[in-house]
Amino acid sequence: MSRMAKFFVAVACAVLGGLLVFVTAPGTTLVDAPISPEGSDSSETIDTKVTPELSSFYNVTSWEPGAPGTLVKAEPIEGAPTGVKLYRIMYQSTDLQGRAIPVTGLYAAPDAPAPEGGFPLVSFAHGTTGVGQVCGMSQSPLQEDTPANSNYVPHIEPLVQAGWAVVASDYSGMGAPGPSSYLVGPLEARGVLDAIRAVENSSPMIGDVPIDQSKLGVYGKSQGGEAAMSALQLAPDYASELDLAGGVILAPGFTPPLAGILDAVASNPTSTSQNMFVMLLAQSYAENYPELVSLDDILSPTGLEKVSLLESNCGHGLAEKVSDVPLSELINYPVAPGFVTAFGEAMPGRVKLESPIMVVQGLKDKTIIPQFTHAQVMSQCAVGTTTFYVRYPEDDHPSLNYQARLHNPSVIDWMNARWAGEPAPSNCANQLLGTLNTTTAVN
């Protein structure tokens, strides 16, 4: 063959190769959908103006340490809607040092005959409401404009209406006293997993609700998305007996431990939108990683003055009180190295998850940075987690609550399919190697 002929053969191979790559490219993860009408006029995620009172239920003077996941006590919540059983619960969990701590939470189950085998159960991991004892899910889920209600309405109640039992951990320190846990993945994970253990066995304390222990899952939004993923990551070591079919991760609160990016955020002289998140992080990381960082390292004198607000303020009320100055005046700059180190310890993402996940992200989200969600998804794909990633181009943080449930592919359908034993779909391109799965597009 002449040199020119070889050249044209090679060119043909290159062009055909490129064409083949294009036509065989996995389907898009972008859903062609307008912003969810249910959430299109929602206010900010943390639309909470009312800080509830803390009842005597959260008193732990008579609490004794016990095995993780043991149900300590429960009480029915008055005024539960028709068709729903509601309880606040206290259960045993552990802190990062393995010491027993009490954690509280909300338990919601259908008030209806259970299907054969019992109800499916998800552990719901809630989004940012604060770190104070008054800021959990169990305090006042039915009272409007409270932190609990802001998660109960768009998440917990619809899941119960879908026929699931839902247990929602308050997280450590957000009901019963304990270490603050904001974006401390390993600590949140313990609360999420132990909540399942606490309610998976039928008990008169919680209405004798039968649970199908072969139908378990985790479900989280925002901070809770990170907590849910952390729970899946921790489960094989911490709660290996739990058969978690999968995890729904909505607009997760991942923050990469990159000093440069954190410095860029911290040095912004005009922004206040991250103030509350940074205060919560500072409190939680200083408390859980004292060997790495202290509050003095992270916060400026102005920021230190505001720490006391965290204990008794939640949600929108807390955000307003810490947003009277720009972030650059609250936090030391450059960001303390120990703070970055703590992020590295707290964030999930380097370990293959044994359970499949469905990650949903709105690209107009201003609370969660979608670019970080993309990075986390890519990392999960690279380590081999079965990941189904769905992006809504027009949805923001609040509207995603509804879009993820109501639009196809629905997270509820996805979870039900896991419980039905169907193989989990994956649209991770690089997982095609050596597997028999085919990718699933969303359009």
Binding site: V9, L20, T341, G434
Partner: protein, 425 residues
């Protein structure tokens, strides 16, 4: 992932493939010494691509970077020490075929790396990427051998300036230099067994690498200059990334993918980066395939400007066979680490059998190859087919068997000759 960019990405990949083709054919003259030198650098960088996952999975610090640099140098050392091989003209069939398997194994590992990387960053099908890169590289190498791989490799060395600039920009603009020495991220260091195992593997693979041998004979593998450039490239990229990541590079990790997941943020950037990655991985694979072809068509004399009367027509066939086997094995999804172990066992069989410079090391190579197969089976059965103490022990045992059998075969041969001389027959 910020927008639908598959068309742009595929155009970038196609452009990369076309650039590779044009580079291979752009001149009918023989590659110059600088071109050969740059392609020798790419041949050596192959070992950085192979070794880096060992360090980054547990977190690479500056200590890991130094170890990586040492590992890459070991490939060159292995190649230089194995320069005592008999010339290709005298190369026995057993040696040739086993070395071809080594080249195939290298090509397979590089195809997996390329397929995974391009698929992950570009969200394309890795199986198709493996097939496409293998076909294009094989067509070019089958047609022009070391000439093609040299030109492609030379071009990709120039394109490496892009990842260098990106890494340094990230490091200086969003990172800090002191963290390279004093990391702010906690890390469990890479197990010493894995480091030693990859060092041993790279050393023997370098010894059996026909591409490196060819560059040695051409005088293109001048140690100081080539090592300086290769180490310089690795150093600049990794130091830049260490500055950005806080002194420790975990891959895969969320922070590692912050940039790759968002290359579509700027129009055209994704296409350009995918084109560059396509060229680089095509060059790596082409080099490995050229090593296979050079076993049947040693081109060193031709590339040195001397008359080459030893050309054969079977080289393209073996390049195609090697590429086909590499594609099939890559698509089986066995993973890179087991492949590195198995390939290095075969490599040590050829290296050890030739240590003595004996006249007929073929039996040693055959014995070593059989021992490699047995060792691999044992490692699979004991779930130890990974880089660690078991793979090191297996490598040593295979080496001893290949060396012992080769030497005893040579001794028998010598005694037979001596006997004939003595009896006058």
């Amino acid at each position: 992932m910020n927008r639908e960019s598959i068309l742009e990405i595929c155009l970038g990949i196609t452009a990369g493939l076309l650039i590779v083709v044009i580079a291979a054919f752009r001149s009918s003259k023989l590659p110059s010494k600088p071109v050969l030198r740059r392609s020798a650098m790419i041949a050596l960088l192959t070992y950085a691509v192979i070794a880096v996952p060992v360090f980054t999975i547990n977190g690479m610090t500056v200590v890991g970077l130094i170890a990586l640099l040492v590992v890459v140098v070991l490939a060159l050392v292995g190649s230089r020490l194995a320069g005592s091989y008999a010339s290709s003209a005298q190369e026995e069939p057993a040696t040739r075929y086993v070395r071809a398997l080594v080249g195939t194994g290298l090509a397979t590992v590089l195809l997996i790396a390329g397929g995974q990387t391009l698929a992950l960053v570009g969200r394309v099908d890795p199986r198709i990427m493996i097939l496409v890169i293998a076909v294009v590289a094989a067509v070019l190498v089958a047609g022009q051998g070391l000439v093609a791989s040299s030109r492609i490799s030379s071009l990709s060395m120039w394109l490496l300036v892009v990842p260098i600039l990106i890494a340094l920009a990230l490091g200086f603009m969003l990172g800090s230099a002191p963290v390279v020495i004093s990391p702010i991220r906690l890390v469990d260091s890479t197990p010493i067994a894995a480091i030693l195992a990859i060092a041993v593997a790279v050393f023997v693979l370098g010894g059996a690498d026909r591409s490196l041998e060819a560059f040695n004979k051409l005088g293109a593998l001048t140690p100081v200059r080539v090592i300086a450039w290769v180490l310089g490239v690795i150093l600049l990229v990794v130091v830049g990334l260490l500055m950005f990541f806080g002194g420790v590079m975990f891959a895969p990790s969320m922070e590692f993918f912050v940039v790759p997941a968002n290359i579509d943020a700027l129009p055209g950037l994704a296409g350009i980066l995918l084109a560059i990655l396509t060229v680089i991985f095509s060059a790596l694979v082409a080099n490995a395939l050229a090593g296979i072809g050079a076993l049947w068509n040693p081109q060193e004399a031709q590339l040195a400007g001397e008359d080459d009367s030893q050309t054969t027509t079977s080289a393209p066939r073996f390049v195609a066979i090697g590429a086909a086997i590499a594609v099939v094995v890559a698509l089986l999804g066995v993973g890179s680490e087991p492949l590195i172990v198995v390939t290095s066992l075969l490599a040590v069989a050829t290296v050890a059998a030739h240590i003595d410079g004996t006249a007929s090391p073929g039996r040693g190579v055959i014995a070593g190859a059989i021992a490699s197969a047995v060792a691999a089976a044992i490692l699979i059965a004991t779930q130890q087919l990974v880089l660690g103490w078991a793979s090191i022990v297996a490598t040593v045992i295979v080496a001893l068997i290949a060396f012992g059998v080769g030497r005893s075969a040579s001794s028998e041969s010598s005694q037979g000759v001596a006997s004939k001389v003595h009896t006058g027959s």
